[in-house]
Symmetry: C2
Subunit: 350 residues, 2 copies
DNA sequence: TTTTGCACTCGGCTGACGAGAGTGCTAAAT
DNA sequence: ATTTAGCACTCTCGTCAGCCGAGTGCAAAA
C-alpha cells in the first residue's frame, strides 16, 4: 500500500537535489552529505544551501540521517516519490531484450518456461526473482489418457485446464489391454471432461458406490483408476524463486540473522504469496517499497511486480525482490517487458 | 578420500578421552579444555593428566587448538578416527522411521518422490540434503504417444527408460486427426522404441533427409513431430537440494562471505556433482570430512552420502551436507535408511 | 537568499587494560 | 613411573578512553 499522503509540492530545485541524492545513494550505498552533493550536481550551490534544503526534505519525511553527522538517505516515502515522479526509466538496450526473448521462445512446457523466466530474471537483475504459477481457480478436467507400461503399470495422463499436464503411474490389480484402456478413457472423457476436478472427484466416488454391482468391470476399473490418479492432486508449489544468493552480495544484507529470516520467509511462501496476490489485479508494474509491504522481514526490501496475462486474462504475477536501494530504472522496465513477453510466449502455445 | 595413515594405536584411556572430547565438542561447539573434560568424564583424572594426553593427541594430528589457551577441537583426521572406530550409531526410533516411510510411500511420480525425499531429509536432519537424480546413461525411448489438444496443438508424451516421463506441447502446421496421430505413434513405437534417444534423434534426421519425397505425408509428420519433441531433450537439473537455510543456523557459518561461496557452489552444481559421483560406486554410507572433499568451499563441511539402488543396480546418490561438527550418530543411520527406503519405494513402482 | 565560519555531534578506529580460560612446564606426591 | 599440584605465561574478548573525520546546525556576513 502506498503511504497515503497529500501530493508533495516542492520547488523544482529541491526536487533536482533530491533526485541527485537518491541517484547517488543508489549508486554506492553510502549516506550522502552536502559537500558531495555540491560537488556532483550541476546546480551551483554551496554545501550550506544544500544543507538547508536537505533539512526541509527531512522534515517532509523524504530523507533521514542514520545518525547525526552522517549524510542523508532516502526513506521509504522518499523512494516512493522518487519512483513515482522523478524516475526516468531508460529503455532496455536491444541486446537485453533479445536475451529475454531467447529464453522465452522455445517450445517448452509451461513449468519449465516459468522456471527459465525466473532464472533469467534473477540473472539479468542480479536480484531475487519470483514467478507465481498460474493459480487455476477451479481446475477443469480436459482430457484423460491411459498408456500401458509394462505389466500392470498404467500411465495416466491428465490434462487440466488446457495447460497443466500431470502424469501419474498407477498399479492395477490385473493387466488391461490397450483397447480396454482406450474404452475407459473414452468413457471418462465423455462423461467428465469439462468439469471441475473437485466435482469429478466427488462424482466418481458417488458413481462408484451407486453402480457398484451392475456397472461393467471396465467402468469400475476406469473410475478406480481415475480416482487413484486424482488423489493427492494439488501441486503444492505456488511460485518459483531464483537467485537467492544474489541477496548475499548486496551490502545491506550483511547480517546473517536478517538474511536467514528472509530466506525462511521465502520458503514459507505465505507472506510472499500474499504480497503477490495483491498485485494480481493491478495493471502493469507495481512497486512495494520497504515497509509498504507490511511484512517485517521485507523492511529493507523492495518488490517490483507485474502481472502477466494471456488474452487479457491475468494468469499470474512475476517480479523481483531486492534491497530498497536497487536500480529501479533498470529493474522496472525489465520486469515490465518480461511480463509482457511471458504473456505472449504463453499465448503462442495456446 | 580418507587421509591415508598408519592405523592409529592408542591406549584405551586416550581413546575414551578423545571420544568424550569429540562428543562434547559436537554437542556445543566450544573448544573443550582439560578442566571440563575432567569434570564430565567418569574416568577419574585430574586436568593436568588430561592435558598431557591431549598434548599427545595433538601431536598425532587428531586435535588442534584454535589458539593458545583455548580448548582443543578435533581435526578432520580426528573426526575420521571418531566416525571410523569410536562412533556408536544408535538406531533410529520407530517414530522417525515411520515418518520417513510415510513420505516415501505414496504413489507419486519419480521426480516428486525425489523432491520429497530431499525435503524430508533436510527436515529431520536440520541440514542441507541433496538427492542426485538418476542419471540415465543412455536414455532409451520406450514409448511415444500423441494426444490431440485443441486445434493444431499436439501433446507429445515420451516415456524414457521406463521411468521418466516427458511432456511437450508442439504446434503443427495443420490439424491432424486422432487416427492419423495414432498411426504416427504406432510407426514411431515400432521403429524406434528400445533405442537410445541420441540414436533416435540422429536416425530421425537421417530418415527425414533420405525419404524426403517418397515418404508418406504421415510419416513425415510423425518424424518432424518427434524430432521437435526430442529437441532440447536434456533435463538440465541433476540434483535437488533442500534446506539450505538450515546452514544459516549453525554457528560455524556466521560469515556471510563463506556462506555465499557455499551457496554459489550449490547452484553451480559442478563440484557437488563430482563429489556425489565419487560415491556412486561405493556400497553403503560414505563420509567426506572437511578438507577430505577436496573442495575449498566445503572445508568446514562434512558430506554423508549413500547410493540408492533398485534391483541391485545403483540409480543415484543421496546425502546430507552439514558442518563437520554434526551429529554423525544421528545423520549416518538416517541417510542409510533413507537410501534403502527410497530404493524400495522406487522398486515397488517398477 | 545565499554563503562563510565555527562550534558541536557522533560513529568508527585504535590502543590500552583487565578478566577469564586454558595451557605447558616443573616439582612434588603417590 | 605415573599422576597431581602449583605457577607463570599466553591469548581472546569485552570495555573504555581518545582521536579523527565527516557532516550537521546556526549565526553572522555578503
Amino acid at each position: 500500500m502506498p503511504l497515503s499522503t497529500e501530493p508533495i509540492q516542492l520547488p523544482e530545485r529541491s526536487l533536482q537535489l533530491f533526485k541527485a541524492l537518491v541517484d547517488h545513494f543508489i549508486q554506492d550505498g553510502h549516506p550522502v552529505g552536502s559537500r558531495t552533493l555540491a560537488r556532483d550536481t550541476n546546480l551551483e550551490l554551496s554545501p550550506a544551501t544544500i544543507r538547508n534544503i536537505m533539512a526541509d526534505l527531512e522534515d517532509l519525511g523524504l530523507l533521514r540521517s542514520p545518525h547525526t553527522s552522517a549524510g542523508r538517505i532516502p526513506t521509504a516515502k522518499g523512494y516512493r516519490l522518487f519512483v513515482d515522479s522523478l524516475l526516468c526509466v531508460h529503455d532496455l538496450d536491444s541486446s537485453e531484450i533479445e536475451k529475454i526473448a531467447k529464453e522465452l521462445d522455445s517450445g517448452q512446457d509451461m513449468k519449465s518456461l516459468l522456471n527459465r523466466t525466473s532464472s533469467m530474471l534473477s540473472d539479468i537483475t542480479r536480484l531475487v526473482s519470483v514467478v507465481m504459477l498460474p493459480r487455476s481457480d477451479q481446475p477443469v478436467l480436459q482430457h484423460v489418457e491411459f498408456v500401458t507400461l509394462s505389466d500392470n503399470r498404467v500411465l495416466v495422463i491428465l490434462i487440466v485446464s488446457d495447460r497443466e499436464i500431470q502424469n501419474r503411474i498407477i498399479h492395477t490389480a490385473r493387466v488391461y489391454s490397450a483397447s480396454e484402456l482406450q474404452q475407459a478413457s473414452n468413457y471418462l472423457n465423455k462423461v467428465f471432461s469439462g468439469k471441475e476436478l473437485t466435482k469429478v472427484r466427488t462424482e466418481l466416488i458417488h458413481e462408484l458406490e451407486q453402480m457398484k454391482d451392475n456397472v461393467s468391470q471396465l467402468m469400475q476399473m476406469a473410475i478406480e483408476m481415475a480416482q487413484k490418479a486424482f488423489m493427492s492432486g494439488e501441486s503444492g508449489d505456488d511460485y518459483v524463486l531464483s537467485g537467492q544468493t544474489n541477496l548475499m552480495n548486496v551490502a545491506e544484507m550483511c547480517d546473517v540473522e536478517k538474511l536467514r529470516k528472509l530466506f525462511e520467509s521465502f520458503n514459507q511462501k505465505r507472506d510472499i504469496l500474499h504480497l503477490l496476490e495483491q498485485s494480481i489485479h493491478a495493471t502493469g508494474v507495481q512497486i512495494f517499497i520497504g515497509e509498504e509491504s507490511g511484512y517485517e522481514v521485507l523492511d529493507d526490501c523492495s518488490i517490483v511486480t507485474s502481472p502477466y496475462e494471456v488474452d487479457g486474462q491475468i494468469l499470474g504475477v512475476l517480479g523481483i525482490i531486492g534491497p530498497t536501494r536497487m536500480h529501479y530504472d533498470r529493474v522496472i522496465p525489465i520486469v515490465d517487458i518480461t511480463a509482457k513477453m511471458l504473456g505472449s510466449a504463453l499465448n503462442s502455445r495456446n
